[in-house]
């Protein structure tokens, strides 16, 4: 069974630029999560989708971050404009409802 796929794996941008990340969950997983992991910390949930609806986006900085999952399968997370403090690893995870979350390899973002 294929795991969670993410791209790109690495991205370096300058502050105030925009960037987008893509995630394809495990087939059949209705729930998709985006987490931000800052160096030395545990992942923090940014947004959670159930199919194509948002379940929880309470910790998403909505003035600069946006995410969508239009067809209930893959998802994109966008940052516009990026700030230095957005440098982190962005992890996508998926699960069958209520079950173990499986994580993708992550996108490492460096904002200069």
């Amino acid at each position: 069974e294929a795991g969670v796929a993410q791209s790109p794996r690495y991205k370096i941008i300058e502050k105030r630029q925009s960037v987008a990340f893509w995630c394809n969950p495990i087939s059949g997983h209705a729930t998709l999560y985006w987490y931000q992991q800052i160096l030395g910390q545990g992942p923090k949930l940014l947004i959670q989708f159930q199919n194509n609806g948002v379940v929880d986006d309470s910790q998403l900085p909505k003035d600069r971050f946006s995410a969508e999952r239009l067809k209930g399968v893959d998802s994109t997370l966008k940052i516009q404009p990026a700030k230095l403090e957005d440098s982190a690893v962005y992890l996508c995870a998926s699960s069958s409802r209520g079950e173990t979350q499986y994580f993708g390899p992550g996108t490492r973002l460096l904002v200069l």
Binding site: Y33, G42, P43, Q48, V55, L91, S95, G98, T100, Q101
Partner: protein, 110 residues
């Protein structure tokens, strides 16, 4: 607010030794997870603990859950170098999201 605290945050130990790491949390939850993360890699699920008194073992790692004390432990038996990694505990909160601790970086020295 759901909070998860791990201690210690850093541990250096010798091969062959035993050690227990701790995860405390602030409110009740249906599920507690342990994940492993190798440097530069993503998170790998190790255990999910569902009920009070639950104990699970895989190789040299054993996890347990005490819901009354709001405490989970991860016991390492006869450590080997391959166990070097960062270990996270995470609690499943409302809407099924995971709230993670800061992680415990384990280094096992020959």
């Amino acid at each position: 607010e759901l909070k998860v605290e791990q201690n210690p945050l850093f541990l250096s130990m010798q091969e062959g030794k035993n050690y227990t790491i701790y995860c405390n949390y602030s409110t009740t939850s249906d599920r507690l997870y342990w994940y492993r993360q190798d440097p530069g890699k993503s998170l790998e699920s190790l255990f999910v603990l569902l009920s009070n008194g639950a104990v699970k073992q895989e190789g040299r790692l054993m996890a347990s859950l005490d819901t009354k004390a709001r405490l989970s432990t991860l016991h390492i038996t006869a450590a080997v170098h391959d166990l070097s990694a960062t270990y996270f505990c995470a609690l499943q909160g409302g809407s099924e999201k995971l709230v993670f601790g800061k992680g415990m970086k384990l280094t096992v020295n020959p």
